[in-house]
């Protein structure tokens, strides 16, 4: 029976339809016949291919080798596959793999060529990737049982073992023992099922130290579809792990510090509106620090009271828009509904000239604020008490000052009948009555002014000279009693912004102190001096005393400091005096270089009283 495919024409079909290139090369080194695949692969026309010596299409670097091969073939030896590069019409080269046979009769070479360009390209890529991996990563190959068959230089470096020590060992050699058994069981289960696996592993060097690697394991299959090897690719992350641990430690320290100082930190990502808080910030707002939880700006703003919310909102907006820093004391409203005072500040952070984040601190100052308010209340109470005590001391003198003029008036009235007929006497005594009435009025008026309660923060303009005069009137009784002359050298009528009751209190205190200080001395006087010096108004109280010793001077204005015994209460300690003056932005000091005791107060001048005439 005839094989219906074995016709001579079939070979022609083979020749024309073959994807591989088929050709016959003659003894003259020209192609005698080429199949269509040649044309398709190389782009040259048949004519071009047949009219040039075929060596001309070969890559210059391959011509010598090609010619050698041809010689070999012609001499009759069998050659295997031979590769060279042939030039495409567009100038690029294709890689051909040849197999050729000599026809002894005609001397022609019958050749088959396959275009391996794509395959070679892929192979080259693979090779380059492999090379890169071997150079940059830690690479090992094991067989399917986990025995090491191949390692690269980096593996040896990081593990501390030489190549000889590793090849043939089971991969277990680098186990650190840190990971639990089921960790590796899971890993092997995955890769032996044909899937790749990746994860962080802690391994052990030859010398016992540990290192961390990010590991990728991939199974390699043979032609039968069975796993022949495992490919282990690793990257050293030890530094990364160390940094993470240092970072965690720092974060812990930061949070610890924050918790001790009761200062919380915050950061706002302007683009996302996400807030990052330290533990203390969560605590201040009475929220549980949740890992990974990032509150957003509106939530943060809700944690302030109705009055405080617009203030903080405005500050944050200004910081975002203009980069303006802020520093505020506000009332926060915690998640539990408690109201407390906080101090918070914020500043803008720039990257490449743009504001990317805001950050700052927040501090629980509730205790401080409450104490401040309590202190202020106590201070006002002290001043009031001191005033009352002062009044007590003044009252003895005042009683005297009122009763003497009263006695004069009463005496004259009772003597009236006696000199009715004496017009001269009448006139004189009428004058005395008037004088006495004036004296009484003056004291009453001074008393009224003095007894006025101190309004908080109620400062008005006053002439310091006038205040000093009032103080002198109220202390007249004491100064007379102690036969101490009180003089006033006034060279200014300037005004100051002050609480008149408090300043009068201060001056009375200084005068009383001075009178007490000199009462045992042979020479007793007190001098008040008032003058202007630049922007300041200077008020001095000088007495005939010998001065205050330097070691006491420092303590003079401390609370509870006194050189007097308990009975001789002066009513207003120097510390309260200083407190009042501090609040008026005035200073008090002992004048240095003076042989006498001299207290010096400096006020900020408001403006000089304009003289009308």
């Amino acid at each position: 029976m005839q094989n219906k495919f074995a016709k001579f024409d079939d070979f022609e079909i083979f020749f024309n339809m073959s994807q591989d290139m088929l050709c016959i090369a003659g003894t003259d080194d020209f192609f005698k016949k080429v199949n269509p695949a040649f044309r398709r692969t190389l782009g040259h026309s048949d004519e071009e291919l047949l009219t040039k010596p075929f060596i001309e299409f070969v890559h210059p670097d391959d011509t010598l080798a090609t010619l050698d091969k041809i010689k070999e073939l012609r001499s009759g030896s069998l050659t295997g596959y031979f590769e060279n590069r042939y030039r495409h019409k567009n100038g690029s080269y294709r890689i051909f793999s040849w197999s050729a046979s000599l026809d002894r009769e005609s001397g022609g070479l019958y050749c088959v060529a396959r275009d391996l360009t794509a395959i070679r390209h892929t192979e080259s890529q693979l090779h380059q990737i492999n090379k890169a991996l071997h150079n940059e990563a830690i690479v090992a190959v094991t067989d399917s049982a986990g025995t090491i068959t191949e390692v690269n230089e980096k593996f040896c470096q990081i593990s501390g073992y030489s190549e000889a020590e590793l090849i043939g060992q089971n991969h277990r050699i680098i186990n650190s023992g840190v990971h639990p058994k089921h960790f590796f069981q899971q890993m092997w289960k995955t890769i032996s099922a044909g899937k790749s696996w990746s994860g962080m592993i802690e391994n052990r060097c030859k010398d016992g130290t540990h290192y961390f690697v990010y590991t990728i394991i991939t199974p390699i299959f043979d032609a039968q579809g069975k796993i022949s090897n495992y490919f282990w690719i690793r990257f050293d992350t030890t530094k990364h792990i160390e940094l993470k641990s240092i970072f965690k430690k720092h974060l812990a320290i930061l949070n610890e510090m924050g918790s001790i100082a009761k200062v919380g930190g915050w950061e706002l990502d302007i683009k996302t509106g996400n807030l990052t808080w330290t533990d203390e910030t969560f605590r201040i707002f009475e929220l549980e620090p949740k890992l990974g939880y990032s509150p957003i700006l509106p939530e943060g703003l809700e944690l302030y009271t109705e009055q405080s919310k617009p203030i903080i909102e405005k500050a944050i907006n200004r910081a975002i828009e203009f980069g303006e820093s802020y520093s505020l004391e506000l009332q926060a409203k915690t998640a539990k509904g408690n109201v407390l005072w906080v101090y918070t500040n914020g500043k803008a952070n720039y990257i490449d000239g743009k504001i990317i984040t805001l950050s700052g601190t927040i501090q629980d100052i509730d205790l401080r604020k409450i104490n401040e308010q309590k202190y202020e209340l106590e201070r006002m109470k002290s001043i009031q008490n001191a005033k009352l005590a002062s009044l007590g001391e003044l009252s003895a003198g005042i009683a005297h000052e009122i009763n003497n003029p009263l006695s004069i008036i009463s005496g004259i009235a009772q003597s009236f009948p006696k000199f009715l007929s004496n017009p001269e006497k009448l006139n004189a005594y009428a004058g005395e009555i008037e004088k006495s009435c004036d004296r009484i009025s003056r004291i009453v008026s001074s008393l009224k002014k003095f007894s006025r309660s101190s309004d908080e923060n109620n400062k008005t303009l006053h002439c310091l000279r006038d205040i000093a005069h009032e103080a002198i009137i109220l202390t007249e009784a004491k100064s007379k009693r102690h036969a101490t002359a009180v003089s006033f050298a006034c060279r200014s009528d300037a005004l100051i912004m002050c609480d008149v009751g408090e300043i009068e209190q201060v001056i009375i205190n200084l005068i009383n102190n001075a009178i007490d200080a000199v009462c045992e001395l042979p020479e007793k006087w007190v001098e008040l001096i008032l003058f202007e010096q630049g922007n300041h108004l200077v008020f001095k109280v000088r007495d005939s005393g010998p001065g205050i010793s330097p070691d006491i001077q420092d303590q003079l204005f401390d609370p509870f400091f006194t050189t007097k015994n308990a009975e001789k209460g002066t009513g207003l300690g120097l510390s309260i005096t200083k407190g009042i003056l501090d609040e008026h932005k005035a200073t008090i000091s002992i004048e240095q270089g003076e042989s006498n005791t001299c207290f010096m107060i400096e006020f900020e001048k408001y403006r000089t009283e304009k003289n009308e005439n």
Partner: protein, 122 residues
């Protein structure tokens, strides 16, 4: 014999008015505004009655009282009744006082004192 009355007060006008009213044929008023002067005069010529103001310049009324002859009857005149006074005065008089009250004191002294026959000033 005229009764000698000393009046000590640092307020001059008060002394003047007192002297003006109480000086008479029976009563010789001597006024002082300075405590030391008064003490000196008293030691030279002891008065029969001594009115002393409490609030004086330089010292208090009871300091003066301690400084003069203890047998002299002394009256304290004061504008402040609550003031602590160490000396045991015969009487304490509040300012402003009624002249009639002073008169009563002077009169009671006159009646209790026997008339001096001859002798000299003490």
């Amino acid at each position: 014999m005229k009764i000698s009355v000393y009046y000590l007060d640092d307020e001059e006008k008060i002394c003047e008015i007192f002297a003006e009213f109480f000086n008479s044929e029976r009563v010789q008023v001597s006024t002082f505004i300075d405590a030391n002067e008064a003490i000196e005069a008293s030691n030279k010529n002891a008065p029969d009655l001594f009115f002393i103001d409490y609030q004086l310049s330089g010292m208090t009324g009871d300091e003066v009282a301690f400084a003069v002859e203890p047998s002299i009857p002394k009256m304290l005149v004061t504008g402040d009744l609550t003031s602590q006074c160490k000396y045991n005065f015969e009487k304490v008089i509040a300012k402003p006082y009624k002249f009639s009250e002073i008169q009563k004191i002077i009169d009671s002294y006159c009646t209790s004192k026997p008339s001096l026959a001859g002798g000299g000033f003490r």
